[in-house]
């Protein structure tokens, strides 16, 4: 199958979400990265509801939002309360039609949320028990069984191999930021390219889309595309050269148009600059994701390329002198220790430092210091170009 056709077949019309129950829409949004922005909308709509009106479907949608990296405190606390309330229910009560109990998408959403907030065993035991019963109830339905096993995996041992559907075996861990086995990825790729996708239900379509994105992220990391870690470093190193054409006009260049200056005033401007450079080359580039909490600390990195297992941490050095350099080394060291401990997806960090004072004489010592930090792959420092005079 032509990959472009496949991608076309796995692209959703925006209106497809409108008719879906909220938790199913949230599942689909998690699977399709371009649609993840919807998760914030679902969170907003869900949290507006009175707690009593938040049925399991809303709780599941909040769980998917958490799994995508949303970390607002109100979301975490709202979801935790919902999960506790639903956990107090009696499941598979005799004579009662099961609903949440056999709704795999809902179970996976709640499980993903609980896993993301690192709920304690006392908070998750009810769901672990329920998933065991649910698995028996839907034993004849491969897709539901797969969803339920994915829920069990994310909540317990992260063993995705028991998921019968090869599509979900890749889509679930990939979309939630976990490692995918290469052989699973290849099998899933073969699966989605083998059959016509036209008749799939939207949920399956989205899971297949996740498989496609997963496969694409690997392709993006291949040297043939110039996007290995080494290539990434080269790209970042080359930004200094790119700055020679950075828009910073002191006089009018086009008649009728005011001269423009693209100021770089803080860390977020630098991040935007890097995003513009890297996003076309690394389709799995992600920004500002929260990582699992360590004690009271919930770390958030600046940019990440999961396919290269690499985080790019941006620093904005505003002051001059050795104390400013020492402070940068301390900050980067702290970040490295936080990030690499809390997320199994990443095992290296590149520090990208914008030196707003242009003190190039300090660079050799600073780079040596930074690169001596275990886990830091490379330190790249870009001095503010001399032509970009600071504002008075």
């Amino acid at each position: 199958m032509n990959v472009l056709d496949l991608k076309q077949g796995l692209t959703l019309h925006p209106s497809a979400f409108d008719a879906l129950p909220v938790h199913v829409a949230a599942f689909c949004a998690l699977m399709v990265r371009d649609e993840r922005v919807r998760l914030a909308e679902f969170v907003q709509a869900g949290l507006v509801l009175d707690e009593q009106q938040r049925h399991y479907d809303v709780a599941a949608s909040l769980g998917y939002a958490l799994a995508s990296g949303e970390r607002a405190e109100v979301l975490v606390e709202g979801f935790r309360a919902d999960a506790a309330r639903h956990g107090g229910r009696k499941f598979f009560a005799p004579g009662r039609v099961p609903r949440f109990e056999v709704d795999g998408i809902a179970l996976l959403g709640v499980a993903a949320g609980l896993a993301t907030i690192e709920a304690k065993p006392a908070e998750t035991q009810w769901l672990v028990n329920l998933l065991g019963q649910s698995e028996t109830a839907v034993a004849d339905d491969e897709w539901q069984l797969s969803l339920i096993r994915a829920a069990t995996a994310v909540l317990t041992d992260r063993d995705w191999s028991k998921i019968p559907s090869i599509v979900l075996r890749v889509a679930a861990p990939y979309s939630m930021g976990f490692d995918v086995l290469e052989e699973d990825r290849q099998s899933a790729w073969a699966e989605i390219t083998r059959l016509d996708v036209g008749d799939d239900e939207i949920v399956m379509l989205c899971a297949k889309r996740a498989v496609l994105d997963c496969a694409a992220s690997v392709l993006a990391a291949m040297p043939v595309h110039g996007a290995s870690v080494g290539e990434l470093i080269k790209l970042l190193d080359g930004i200094g050269r790119s700055m020679s054409r950075w828009t910073y006009e002191v006089k009018q260049r086009v008649r009728g148009r005011e001269p423009r200056k693209w100021h770089v005033d803080h860390e977020y401007h630098v991040q935007s600059m890097l995003w513009a450079v890297l996003a076309p080359i690394f389709p799995d580039l992600i920004d500002e994701e929260y990582l699992p909490s360590i004690g009271h600390k919930t770390p958030r990195y600046d940019l990440g390329v999961p396919s290269l297992r690499t985080i790019i941490e941006v620093k904005f050095m505003r002051d001059t002198g050795q104390s400013a350099c020492a402070k940068i080394i301390e900050e980067v060291a702290a970040d490295v220790s936080l990030y690499l401990h809390t997320d199994g997806r990443f095992d290296r960090i590149i520090a990208f430092i914008w030196d707003d004072c242009g003190q190039t004489e300090e660079y050799p010592k600073l780079i040596t210091g930074l690169e001596s930090i275990a886990g830091l792959e490379k330190a790249i420092i870009i001095p503010r170009p001399a032509r970009m005079k600071k504002k008075a």
Binding site: Q53, D57, R85, K90
Partner: protein
């Protein structure tokens, strides 16, 4: 449906003239009020003034003064509460001496005897089938909640056998076994005698009738004093006795003429005619104050009540809620049943019980039932469809069933019981269980006493042994294939539900944390018609959970006298159970809605509230909703030319299903079964149901309640077409009816459905 072209059988009424009049007041007592009415009904009207506990009297003819010991002036223009009795009295005065007045409230008048709808040279003149008009004063509210007073008019056909039993005996008609009436003198001479059912003729002794199942004091009545009741079946039987072989065409012709009157156009014409008459009749409230009668109220008039078409309810066919439909049959064919992933067993053991002489026919029917009828297409032109092309097994995603037939050697209870025993023995010997029994019955079994009816006998024996029963009439099996496919749809749906399957769920628009809807339905079980027989009340509970409505698996049925206590007890048990299962908190908002076949009494409503308060829930609201099929309102849809559209023959001018008229903050009219849902052209004009909210209700959103009741009519697992009532009431009716019949069977054991697993299924469908 075009809402702009509706018409109510309601004519606005206003007053003209000098409306300040004198009225009398005196202290109220019930006896005194009756005495005054008996004595002065031609000259005064009397009302009990509840607020100050007085009797108010108003002179309604010239030169008469108020009777009360205190006389005051009031302005009738603002004393709206007096308009209804004044209008009623005016109608009686207008018709007195011109037409026979059958009842004084609501006023009913009969058509002229000369316009008898049944005629034959050998029929006595006292055999009458005549029109009857009824007038009910009412106040409704327009879209701006402004009250509008008016008169509801209706027209129908009444059967009368006015000759005495002696007349019938003289004509050699055997009347033994028939119930008889006697006529009691009316309180108001202008009104016809009141007829009262007194008993059933056991035997005839000379000129006397000896009665059984009779009222006290009426063990013996003179044949010349008694007459037969006018129920349609007695009337037709009497014609048959009187005319013999000539009866059939006479009866058919009379029915045809009655159908014309009961049809939409016939009714509307009759109502318009009588309204036109009333407009020119000079109805006076009191001397000098006239009632002005307007036209029938159309939906283009500003006085018309708020109206909407309720959308069809959404049915859910999978737990995630991604597979939905507003059409049950289409949804189940497309998506399969809701519980297809979890339903068990997939391979059914089916016992077929039938009469031996019919085994071949029954086997053929069962084969069609299981495998479908793909070659039978219905509809016209390009819309032809195989409505039962898939069959029971494929539709409900089941495997090929194990089917065995057991035959009864005759149409008797004993023969059927023997066949059932054979089936049960076979299962016991083979160490398996029948999942369902398909039982062939006959229409004529309905005429048998319940205790001898094979329908109830097989149900009793099999249900007691945990086998749900789906009965199918022989007449159904013999239907033309074009009709049979529709019956198959119903039978397959009910069978799946009886197996414990869940065809679909009804989506709930849950704005409140928890909602319970309790339905009450009733059935009178008796061979006696005196004293009302023994009435049973069934109780069905539906509750909201996870965005859909679920049926509580435990139903209840009790004698009428015990229903209030049973209702309270069932409600408490259900709340306690659902509360535990769904982990309610004490502070959660809970809404309790009661769908009742009769108006709730204040004391019942308060008892329920007291019982729930004891459950320590802090935020509970109540709605007591009486759902009445009988009431004086009619709605005409002037755009409705009949159904089906390609061959219009039924429901002309009938409103469509889903139409909702909000008459006031406490009353709504809702069409549960409209023109499309009528089965036959002879069914006349479809009537809406009147929903009335009890004053003790604390949840008072009539629009929500009307829509919810409507949704529940589309959620029946008994039939594919909508039920005429919400399932909360319909299921309760069915439970009461089935258990009343089963209780007549000697071998029946009520514990089977009270305590055993079969009671968790919808065994009563």
């Amino acid at each position: 449906m075009t809402i702009a072209n509706l018409c109510l059988n309601f004519a606005s009424v206003s007053l003209s003239g000098g409306t300040v009049i004198k009225v009398g007041y005196r202290k109220y007592s019930a006896e005194l009020l009756q005495e005054l009415r008996d004595k002065f009904h031609e000259t005064h009207i009397f009302r009990w003034g509840r607020q100050d506990d007085t009797i108010v009297d108003i002179p309604v003819v010239s030169d008469v003064e108020p009777l009360g010991n205190k006389v005051q002036e009031i302005d009738l223009a603002v004393a709206h509460w007096l308009w209804a009795p004044l209008l009623n009295a005016a109608l009686i005065r207008a018709f007195a001496g011109r037409r026979e007045i059958r009842r004084d409230y609501p006023v009913q008048i009969l058509g002229h005897k000369s316009q008898n709808l049944i005629s034959h040279e050998r029929l006595p003149a006292w055999v009458l089938k005549r029109t009857q008009q009824e007038f009910t004063p009412r106040t409704i509210f327009d879209v701006n909640d402004k009250p509008r007073f008016g008169l509801l008019c209706d027209a129908r056909v009444r059967h009368q056998l006015l000759g005495s039993c002696q007349d019938l005996l003289d004509l050699n008609v055997s009347i033994i076994g028939r119930y008889v009436l006697i006529d009691l003198p009316p309180r108001d001479k202008r009104v016809q005698p009141r007829s009262q059912l007194v008993g059933r003729i056991a035997r005839i002794e000379g000129h006397d009738l000896v009665l059984e199942d009779c009222r006290p004091g009426y063990e013996r009545v003179q044949a010349a004093q008694a007459r037969l009741e006018g129920r349609a079946e007695i009337f037709d039987w009497c014609i048959d006795q009187l005319l013999g072989a000539d009866a059939a065409p006479v009866i058919a012709d009379a029915k045809r003429r009655a159908v014309e009157i009961h049809s939409g156009p016939g009714r509307l014409q009759a109502i318009q005619k009588v309204v036109t008459f009333l407009r020119t009749a000079g109805l006076q409230a009191v001397p000098g104050v006239n009632f002005e009668i307007g036209d029938l109220l159309g939906s283009s008039a500003p006085e018309f009540p708020a109206v909407e078409t309720i959308p069809k309810p959404v049915l859910v066919f999978d737990p995630a809620g991604t597979r939905t439909s507003t059409w049950n049959e289409g949804g189940i064919k497309r998506h399969g049943p809701y519980d297809q992933r979890t339903f068990s067993p997939k391979k059914l053991n089916i016992a077929v019980i039938c009469q031996a002489r019919l085994e071949g026919q029954v086997d053929a029917f069962v084969a069609k039932f299981l495998d479908g009828m793909p070659d039978v297409l219905t509809g016209s032109g390009n819309n032809q469809k195989a409505r039962y092309g898939d069959g029971f097994q494929r539709r409900f995603q089941l495997e090929k069933a194990n089917v065995q037939t057991f035959t009864a050697n005759g149409p008797t209870l004993d023969a059927y019981a023997a066949a059932c025993n054979d089936a049960l023995q076979k299962a016991a010997d083979g160490d398996f269980k029948w999942d369902i029994a398909l039982v062939q019955v006959e229409e004529r079994f309905k005429g048998l006493p319940d205790a001898l009816n094979p329908y109830f006998g097989t149900k009793a024996l099999l249900l007691k042994n945990h086998v749900p029963v789906q009965s199918i009439r022989l007449e159904t099996m013999k239907q033309s294939e074009g009709n049979l496919v529709f019956s198959m749809n119903q039978v397959s749906l009910a069978s799946y539900a009886k197996l414990g399957g869940v065809p679909w769920l009804l989506a709930a628009e849950q704005k409140v944390a928890h909602e319970l809807v309790v339905g009450l339905g009733s059935h009178v079980a008796t061979d006696s018609r005196i004293g009302g027989g023994k009435r049973f009340v069934g109780i069905t509970t539906v509750f909201s959970s996870d965005g859909s409505y679920l049926l509580s698996d435990r139903t209840n049925v009790v004698p009428f006298d015990e229903y209030a206590a049973a209702l309270t007890e069932t409600l408490k048990k259900t709340i306690i159970r659902v509360r535990e299962e769904d982990n309610w908190r004490n502070t959660d908002r809970v809404r309790l809605i009661f769908h009742m076949f009769k108006p709730a009494k204040d004391v019942e409503a308060e008892a329920i509230k007291a019982a729930v308060e004891a459950l320590d829930l802090e935020d509970v609201t109540y709605a007591f909703l009486h759902i009445a099929p009988s009431h004086p309102f009619l709605i005409f849809d002037l755009e409705q030319r009949g159904q089906p559209a390609w061959r219009p023959e039924k429901g002309v001018l009938g409103p469509s299903r889903g139409l909702h008229l909000k008459l006031s903050d406490t009353q709504s009219l809702v069409v549960f079964a409209g023109a499309s849902e009528l089965k036959h052209a002879t069914d006349g004009l479809p009537r809406p149901c009147l929903l009335t909210l009890h004053r003790n209700s604390t949840f008072r959103d009539m629009t929500y309640l009307a829509r919810q009741a409507f949704d529940f009519t589309g959620h029946s697992w008994r039939i594919m077409s909508p039920e005429p009532f919400p399932i909360t009431i319909k299921y309760s009716d069915l439970i009461a009816e089935r258990l009343a019949g089963l209780n007549q069977i000697e071998m029946w054991d009520n514990d089977a459905v009270r305590f055993r697993d079969i009671g968790r299924t919808l065994w009563f469908l």
